[in-house]
């Protein structure tokens, strides 16, 4: 069981959360011409490291806020969580 510390609600069990993937993915800016390659990179290519991974989680059965988590993909250990506009 993962215990995830929501920055708003505190530590809760993983059952309350859903996963949102790589937090470093940035949507290309609106209203600008975007090459196919940049668009493909945004849609299909993400970081996939063995080790520390910064990722998005959603407190879907709680405060319903999205936030960032720094977690190891090798051990599942969670090091840090932060609000979406904060740095990890």
């Amino acid at each position: 069981m993962l215990e995830i510390k929501c920055p708003y609600c505190g530590k809760r069990s993983q059952n309350e959360f859903s996963y949102g993937g790589d937090a470093s993915v940035k949507r290309p800016p609106l209203g600008k011409e975007i090459s196919d390659k940049d668009w493909d990179d945004f849609v299909y290519f993400r970081k996939n490291p063995r080790g520390n991974h910064s990722e998005l989680w959603h407190h879907i059965a709680g405060c319903r806020q999205w936030f960032k988590v720094l977690r190891s993909t090798a051990t599942h250990e969670i090091f840090k969580t932060a609000k979406i506009n904060e740095d990890l």
Partner: protein, 418 residues
């Protein structure tokens, strides 16, 4: 190579089975090979076998960081099927089914192929319509498919919950009668033994730590057993693909996720088919030893840990109990996790790379085991001929740029939702 038969069994019985030949050698790596396959799982070993058999390329090494068959080849639920709708998938996996049917004879090794039939349960008229469409597509591609009604299913799987009050009442099912199971270890060992007999070096405990690339051309690998040169290199490392790709500065359209499975204590024959309860994220079959082999969903977050968490297991097994209420009495004997190379459209990639002489085989998601023979056959062709086989030309890496996705499940790029 010693042929396995009733006669060799009797002959060796006279010497208390002390004089059997080893099934494969344990060689030291040579300085150079024509082809190196990284990854000694089912796909890697099958690739080496077909390189030798179909293309007469025998100066081949398989580099395996652990022991052969110790990764996903030993962590799957051994299901074989070709019940796909899209042509690119259906024709590919159906070719694989044909290979499975004669694999024991071809390898002189009993892979315990058991065409017991795979049943996909449907729980609404709409789902039955979708299954009828899939079944029709399968039959147009020459794949066997039959629709089953509720009354037929009651006879075939009497222990399922057929009550009117079930949360997902059983309306019917799509069945592929030739689908079934095979013994995963035997597949690995059978391919290893035959590949070895044709000269392939199987090198275990040999981890690849880096690549030698010069002027856009692959020259060799650095390993825990020293540098080895090769004209061509094939990657068959499933969940570890991104880690090796990182050493080549390649970014690939996959994420690594952990998928759990489990077996119960063994019980008397109870279930004669493979049954999937898609609406509830649960499927099961009964092994020859009597254990219920059960699986379901991904844990749902990136992981290389080869072990999962209990909430997912609880979810999967409670769905299982909803479908087969008497499973609730069973004890779980073992659980385990494997690392899935989840691709962004749910279909695999067997292709050349932008580096000359480097070939890629990855993105098998949940379904790599059934593809073992046909993946080996087509990957060997891709490596030997430097172009894809007609069966795998749609499984190209470029499709994520051109938009020709093979989105069989229509799950999109949120791979963890599965």
């Amino acid at each position: 190579m010693q042929k396995y038969s009733i006669f060799s069994l009797i002959k060796n019985a006279f010497t208390n089975h002390q004089n059997w030949d080893v099934a494969w050698r344990d060689p030291e790596p040579k300085k150079e090979y024509d082809v190196i396959i990284i990854g000694g799982g089912g796909h890697g070993l099958a690739t080496a076998y077909y390189l030798a058999k179909e293309h007469n390329i025998t100066n081949v090494a398989i580099l395996e960081k652990g022991w052969i068959g110790g990764g996903n080849a030993g962590r799957n639920t051994t299901i074989l099927r070709s019940n796909y709708m899209w042509d690119s998938n259906g024709l590919f996996y159906e070719h694989g089914m044909k290979l499975w049917e004669s694999l024991s004879q071809e390898l002189n090794y009993n892979v315990m192929y058991s065409p017991r039939g795979i049943i996909n349960l449907a729980h609404s008229d709409a789902q039955l319509n979708i299954y009828a469409r899939r079944g029709n597509s399968m039959r147009l591609n020459g794949i066997d498919a039959v629709m089953l009604g509720r009354n037929e299913l009651k006879k075939m799987i009497p222990f399922a919950d057929f009550s009117e009050t079930a949360r997902f009442p059983i309306f019917g099912a799509l069945m592929q009668p030739r689908g079934g199971t095979a013994r995963h270890d035997a597949v690995v060992w059978g391919y290893a033994r035959q590949a070895d007999s044709m000269g392939v070096d199987i090198i275990q405990n040999c981890e690849v730590t880096g690549f030698d690339v010069q002027n856009g051309k692959i020259k060799g690998v650095q390993t825990s057993k020293g540098n080895i040169n090769a004209k061509k290199i094939g990657l068959c490392v499933a969940g570890s693909t991104s880690l090796l790709a990182e050493k080549l500065n390649m970014k690939l359209p996959i994420e690594a996720h952990v998928l759990q499975a489990c077996v119960s204590e063994p019980v008397k024959p109870f279930l004669n088919h493979v049954v999937t309860f898609g609406a509830g994220h649960f499927y099961c079959s009964q092994s020859d030893k009597g254990e219920m082999v059960m699986g379901g969903d991904l844990d749902g977050y990136n992981s290389y840990a080869q072990r999962g968490n209990l909430p997912t297991l609880q979810h999967v097994l409670s769905e299982g109990v909803a479908m087969f209420p008497n499973l609730s009495r069973l004890k779980i004997l073992r659980t385990w996790g494997g690392i899935m190379d989840m691709s962004m459209d749910g279909s695999p990639i067997i292709d050349k790379s932008h580096i000359e002489g480097l070939y890629l085989n990855f993105g098998w998601c949940y379904g790599g085991f059934k593809a073992t023979p046909v993946s080996g056959l087509t990957f060997a062709h891709t490596i030997a001929q430097d172009r894809p086989h007609t069966l795998n030309e749609k499984f190209n890496l470029n499709r994520f740029n051109t938009g020709h996705l093979i989105d069989e499940k229509g799950v999109g790029t949120k791979t963890w939702i599965g």
